[in-house]
């Protein structure tokens, strides 16, 4: 698969201090999460990809185009929703989005049409003629999303998209992002420090720490792999026979105290078969969990490791 973003030894320094430290990665996912604690370099990476910061070494490519030498072509492919409040206060919502779409190169009529569409799409259709300065925080976030998608980009940068939103507004924003992702027309880069947002919206995660890549994983594969890993609590007289029967089916087992078992299922074996086996062996399965590494586990491991994954490729 052609990479959406390639980081090729990308280094950014401010005042001699490295902010991004020779990052090397190739991101191919439909929706990639950028995770990291404050100051990890998430926003700097986005800003560098947008051409706001000049790399001091290395480069980055978006859809094969160099962000340094082909900045204009790169920007024409991108929609950007910044982290902080960014708008023109005395403009109406629809006029603002129209201005942004015209600057992206849409003709006047098309820009107006798409500004209206974008506003309806993000759920602000009724307030599109109100001045942006009068919008609530949630409405401003949605308006920022509207301006980012109005010109039909191929890659969407969302920097902390749920920042400051109350739970219902956050849910609406997450639903919108998921819908955009699932349509498959564009790729998403979601920068956030909220693990749940990234978990719900992304299929790949790049975790940054102190300007280095601390972890790089495919959440889908992690989820799929962890579905084979079970934790079980059983009650019955013939646990030993039950274990042997499971191992005969190809499972790896590890018995614990008080009837607890850890089981790794072989490929092709359904969980249903374990229940059938338990009935045959007269064993009660009182609890059965898929023990999956949550994104939180992956993130904490990355933060604790202190190691650097210099090369990330999925």
């Amino acid at each position: 698969m052609n990479p959406v973003i390639e980081l090729d030894g990308l280094e950014v320094r401010f005042g001699g201090r490295p902010i991004l430290n020779r990052l090397k990665a190739s991101l191919t996912g439909r929706s990639v999460g950028l995770l990291g604690p404050n100051g990890a370099g998430k926003s700097t990476l986005l800003n560098t990809l947008l051409g706001f910061h000049r790399p001091s070494a290395g480069t980055a490519r978006i859809f094969g185009r160099d962000v340094r030498t082909e900045a204009r072509a790169v920007r024409s492919l991108i929609g950007y929703m910044p982290e902080n409040d960014s708008f023109i206060a005395n403009m109406t919502g629809v006029r603002f989005v129209r201005l942004m779409a015209e600057l992206a190169g849409l003709p006047r009529e098309a820009a107006l049409e798409r500004a209206h569409e974008a506003f309806f799409y993000v759920g602000l259709g009724e307030v599109r003629y109100r001045a942006l300065g009068t919008y609530s925080l949630g409405m401003k976030q949605a308006a920022k999303l509207a301006q980012a998608i109005a010109h039909g980009p191929k890659l969407l940068f969302l920097d902390e998209p749920t920042n400051g939103l109350d739970p219902p507004a956050r849910l609406r924003m997450i639903n919108l992002i998921q819908e955009i992702r699932d349509r498959g027309d564009l790729h998403l880069i979601v920068s956030s420090h909220l693990l749940r947002d990234v978990e719900e919206c992304c299929d790949q995660v790049l975790i940054l720490k102190n300007g280095n890549i601390a972890a790089f994983c495919n959440l889908e594969e992690e989820r799929r792999a962890n579905k084979r890993f079970l934790e079980m609590e059983t009650r019955g007289e013939t646990n030993g026979t039950f274990l042997a029967a499971m191992e005969k089916m190809g499972c790896e087992t590890a018995p614990g105290a008080q009837g607890r078992l850890k089981v790794v299922l072989p490929d092709g074996l359904e969980v249903r078969r374990l229940y059938e086996l338990a009935v045959e062996q007269n064993v009660q399965i009182r609890r059965l969990n898929h023990r999956r590494d949550s994104l939180e586990d992956i993130f904490l491991k990355a933060m604790e490791s202190g190691g650097e994954v210099r090369n990330g490729s999925l």
Binding site: G51, R75, P82, D85, E117, G152, L186
Partner: protein, 303 residues
Amino acid sequence: MAVYKKTYRPYEGVLTASWRRLLVIPKYAFEDLRRSRFLTIFYIASFIYPLICALIIYVQHNASALKLINAEGAQRMISINVPFYMGFLGWQSMLALFLAAFIGPGQISPDLANNALSLYLARPFSRAEYVIGKMLVLVILLSLMTWIPGLLLFGLEGYLEGWDWMTTNSKIAAGLFFGSWVWIPVLCLLALALSAWVKWKPAAGGLIFGVIFVGQAFGAVVNHIQRTSWGYLFDINYLVGSIWLRLFEGDNPTTTGAVFFRASMGPDGTAPPIWCSWMLLGLGGLVCLYMLRKKIRGAEVVR
């Protein structure tokens, strides 16, 4: 697609040429300016003087009209010559200063205050294009006040006087055109640079006047105390006026320049050389560009 479908779809239509995107900023700025009644009235009022000048030129060449108002001797009172056009340029340029002080501060500071620059510059739109787009707002308005009516007046006089007058006085046309193009960039760069650095619009507008008039006063004080003419180098009006004088009259001027833009001799009977005027205006322009370069960024770097 109907808006009620509420779905995202990619854009697959044509895109405009990049030079046309430069005109997007002035288009939206003019729509905003039109909403201000004060600015609209001020701008319309700025055409009163050119209309009066046109009327004078017309009446000068219309003996029956002069006879009608019993002013047959008026032809001798007002001459359509270099001082006439320099006076026109002086008046209009002073009005241009006021206009730039009113609308200039509102060009960049709102974008900076609302963090909108990251949105402009995340598009296929460079920092230079942003500044040029903002500058075009002022350039178009100031051109309509200065060299465009100036050349129309020159054309009117030439039409009434004949081709010979036009060729003999071609320096006037060049003076009007190039003289305006000395003043307009100075005003635009100053207004935009102060708009980028001073977020409070009234303060930025006041600073434009401050740079012009405080510099003038300071220069006069230096000249008076030191009995020199080098104090003029602090006076932007003098610098511009001295260049105008060369453009209109060449190396041997017979007047002291345009109203508000006098280029008289200093108390010691000398004047700074003309290259000083060019150099200082150029230097000022570079300083303004540097100020803009520091502020017009997609993302602020906190070191």
